[in-house]
């Protein structure tokens, strides 16, 4: 499957993060959608059709990452892989507890980001 067929949903309340991640992923051939919190992500997920991977921040106003992931796992989108991307010191533990496929601790190395996306968005 070509990368152009893969849509990555970036969920983060920090606009600069959303944008820089979008730049590098789009430059690497992925389609990128963004959402500012869980609620936004939820509606984007329903309106944007197939999503190959969700990059999910944890601490966000409105619906936070944890709540969103719990909802996701109990929805028809439960098979969408999720990589938690947060600056929180307990990111790995939280990601595992929530059943995420992977995690990245901010600040993220570009190579690690691209590798995670390659790995989990493979379809």
């Amino acid at each position: 499957m070509a990368r152009r067929d893969r849509t990555i949903l970036v969920v983060d309340d920090d606009e600069d993060i959303r944008e820089t991640v979008r730049w590098v992923l789009e430059s690497s051939g992925y389609v990128v959608k963004t959402a500012v919190d869980g609620n936004d992500a939820w509606s984007k997920l329903h309106s944007n059709g197939q999503v190959s991977l969700i990059l999910l921040d944890l601490m966000m106003p409105g619906m936070d990452g944890g709540r969103f992931l719990t909802l996701l796992r109990n929805s028809r989108h439960d098979k969408v892989p999720v990589v938690v991307m947060s600056g929180h010191h307990a990111t790995p533990e939280t990601a595992q507890e929530l059943g995420a496929e992977g995690w990245l601790v901010k600040p993220v190395e570009l190579d690690d980001l691209l590798e995670s996306v390659r790995k989990f968005a493979a379809g």
Binding site: T20, V24, G87, P107, L110
Partner: protein, 750 residues
């Protein structure tokens, strides 16, 4: 041992007779021996008859000490020497002769010297032996000078032990006809005597005999005295007619009995315990003052000597009179047993009661009761136990549970009802009430507790019930009240009030400890969260810059991204700078070093400038911002600090505004300028309206919203530094409203 000594003495005397030995020299003025006689010459190494006409110096050449003495005596100076020759001792005397020359007399004294040494050893032995006797032994010389005196009688009579004292001096009256002197004189005359002799308050049986030397000559006396005072006392009645003797015995017996009785009575009266003696029929035989005082018995009643009357009077004072009566009855039927029990009084006193049978021989003739008031001891013991339990219970950090347990403890031992009230904003909040099962008492009315809440312990009556109320306080303000209702029939005393006050202090201490513990835990949690949020706040901007730089450097992003990447870096740089400033401000606020530079500032203009910096955020969030101003809006303020205030408030309004409209207004009056920032977002709960200004506090979870929770704390510090105040409101229509009031001019104190 003494016999051996005597045998040695005889042997020595024979030895002296056998050995004998003396010699006489007469030497003329020129030193020539004129006479040399005596059986001791040979022992001295001189041949009899062979020395006459010779110079003494040639004869005595081998005896230099004798020769020296001879020269001295020829010069007119008499002398005396002891010479030891072949294990024999000679006493040699040198005496000048009238008309010149000298007489030398040598006497063999070997046996007599040994005898004297043996005598001294025997005397020392005798002295040791006599120290253990109740009597005395002495010897005298012919002048009745005491040469030896020993025995414990010296101590009982107080005889002085002066050396060279005479028998006459022992007799205080110095009466020449005193039997002691006469008997000694008779002994010197050769007649031994035994007689009874009263001396210095004691009575002695004495024997005085002559002491003879070899040959039978009397050289002194030997006396032995035995202390027979006790026997003499017993015999003193002998010799009287039977009736008189009987009367004398009866009189003496009575005298002794009276003395014994007075000792017994004094001992009873001096006793710290109440004592009562009754006969087997229950008649009072004896009692002491302490007994009457302990039981509150009038002396006249005690004088009636009827135990039944007394029992009736006292048993009503007791908590369990029936048990008391049963105990008394049981003991009257079992005469020969000891008993011990504790009597508890209705008024709270506690006595220990102990009784033993009074016996004459094996026959029980009565019973001795002893009563000890142990109220104070019991009270202290109970108090110590009570506080040990209470302190253990109050050690729990679950204070409400601890106070409940303590209230149960109080109800168990002190009260019918125990209530704990805490001071609250609107008066009193009843924390708990614990009552004894089946208690009929009402809960106390609030007034006394209010007195206690203001720090005043109170004893009061509620109907028939005695009550007390004490403050729960340590050194600080009163935090509550502890109220007790006494069990029926009990009246609280100042001692109870003291005990309750101490309990109140300990309970308050426990409450305070728990509060401090909670506060410290909360501070710990807030700090942990602060560190976590701080990490998040730093990692966010760094993450953006990192990805932008790495994307460009690795060629993932082409050159066309460079301007946008620089925008990101610049923005995030500002964010980080602001973050660091905020941290530094916190340090300054806490150290009281937040500095202000006052200048003329138009607040409405300042708000417009700051708002313009939020264009991007407003656009992202979807919130619109309206700005209105009215009246004079210029004042003497610190521009930079005021920008911080407005930035924080606007930032919060956008962050928590849920994309809804935000209204900002500046309204100026002569003496006050008010800035209001109103959003229609998630709002603030009433409980958080004040704490939200504390450091590390936030109205919402940090999981949802970033930020250190320091913004409003800094806002408040700045506003207060400018002489104003800030408050938060949560309008019923929703959202949050922050109002900053600033005096436009610096007050004298600012």
């Amino acid at each position: 041992m003494q016999m051996v000594g005597m045998a040695d003495l005889h042997t020595s005397e024979h030895g002296q007779a056998r050995e004998g030995g003396s010699a006489v020299f007469v030497v003329d003025a020129s030193g020539v021996v004129r006479v040399a006689e005596g059986d001791g010459l040979a022992a001295l190494g001189i041949q009899a008859g062979g020395v006459t006409g010779h110079f003494a110096s040639s004869i005595l050449g081998s005896r230099p000490r004798m020769l020296a003495a001879l020269h001295r005596v020829l010069a007119g100076e008499p002398d005396r020497l002891d010479l030891a020759i072949d294990h024999q001792t000679f006493e040699v005397r040198f005496e000048p002769r009238t008309g010149g020359g000298a007489l030398v007399l040598a006497q063999n004294v070997t046996a007599s010297r040994r005898l004297r040494l043996e005598e001294r050893a025997a005397e020392r032995f005798l002295a040791r032996a006599l120290r253990a006797t109740t009597g005395a032994v002495w010897t005298t010389d012919r002048e009745l000078r005491l040469t030896f005196l020993q025995g414990r009688a010296l101590d009982t009579t107080g005889v002085p032990r002066a050396e060279g004292m005479t028998v006459q001096e022992l007799v205080s009256a110095r009466d020449p006809n005193d039997p002691l002197i006469l008997r000694h004189l008779e002994a010197l005359g050769g007649t031994g005597q035994s007689f009874r002799y009263p001396y210095r308050g004691r009575c002695f049986e004495m024997a005085i005999d002559p002491v003879r030397v070899a040959g039978g000559a009397i050289r002194g006396c030997v006396g032995v005295a035995l202390d027979v005072t006790a026997r003499a006392d017993a015999e003193s009645c002998h010799g009287l007619p039977p009736e008189a003797r009987e009367a004398a015995v009866a009189k003496e017996t009575t005298r002794r009995l009276e003395r014994s009785l007075s000792v017994a009575r004094a001992a009873i009266d001096a006793a710290a315990d109440g004592l009562l003696v009754v006969d087997p029929q229950g008649h009072i035989v004896a009692y002491n003052q302490r007994f009457l005082a302990l039981w509150g018995i009038p002396r006249e009643l005690a004088e009636e000597r009827d135990d039944t009357t007394l029992v009736r009077l006292v048993h009503e004072q007791l908590e369990d009179p029936q048990a008391f009566l049963r105990g008394v009855r049981d003991l009257y039927t079992s005469h020969d047993v000891e008993s011990f029990d504790v009597l508890r009084f209705k008024d709270g006193r506690v006595f220990e009661r102990y009784s033993i049978p009074q016996k004459v021989g094996d026959h029980v003739v009565g019973r001795v009761w002893s009563f000890r008031d142990v109220t104070e001891r019991e009270r202290l013991l109970h108090r110590a136990e009570f506080f040990a339990d209470a302190t253990r219970l109050l050690g729990s950090l679950d204070v409400e549970k601890a106070l409940d347990s303590v209230a149960h403890l109080v109800v168990k031992s002190l009260a019918e009802v125990c209530a704990v009230d805490l001071a609250a904003d609107l008066g009193v909040r009843r924390l708990l009430v614990v009552s004894r099962p089946g208690a009929q008492v009402k809960t106390p009315s609030p007034e006394p507790q209010l007195a206690a809440l203001s720090g005043h312990p109170t004893l009061f009556m509620m109907g028939d019930a005695s009550c007390l109320s004490v403050p729960l306080s340590t050194s600080g303000p009163t935090i509550g009240a502890l109220t007790l209702v006494a069990p029926p029939g009990r009246r609280y005393t100042s001692a109870d009030l003291d005990l309750a006050m101490e309990l109140g202090r300990r309970a308050a201490l426990s409450l305070e400890n728990a509060r401090l513990y909670r506060a410290s835990q909360e501070a710990l949690r807030a700090r942990e969260e602060f560190v976590s949020v701080a990490a998040h706040e730093i990692r966010g901007p760094v993450a953006s810059m990192h990805l932008a730089v790495q994307g460009l450097r690795q060629g993932v992003l082409d050159g066309g991204f460079l301007p946008r990447a620089l925008d990101v870096i610049e923005r995030e740089d500002r964010r980080l700078t602001r973050f660091v400033d905020e941290l530094l401000d916190i340090t300054k606020v806490r150290a009281g070093r937040l500095a202000f530079t006052f200048e003329s500032v138009d607040l409405a203009e300042l708000v417009r400038t700051v708002a313009s910096r939020f264009t991007a955020e407003l656009s992202t969030s979807g919130s619109s911002l309206s700005l209105a101003s009215r009246g004079p809006t210029v004042g003497q303020w610190d521009r930079f600090r005021l920008e911080q205030v407005v930035t924080n408030l606007l930032s919060n309004a956008i962050k928590f505004g849920q994309g809804r409209p935000i209204d900002v207004s500046v309204v100026g009056h002569d003496d006050l300028t008010t800035l209001t920032v109103r959003d229609r977002g998630i709002g603030i709960s009433t409980a958080m309206l004040e704490p939200i200004f504390q450091p590390f506090e936030r109205a919402v979870s940090s999981r949802h919203y970033g930020g250190l929770g320091l913004g409003l704390y800094i806002v408040q510090a700045i506003v207060q530094g400018l002489g104003g105040k800030v408050k938060a409101e949560s309008p019923t229509s929703g959202g949050a409203c922050f109002q900053v009031e600033l005096p436009p001019k610096r007050s004298a104190g600012s």
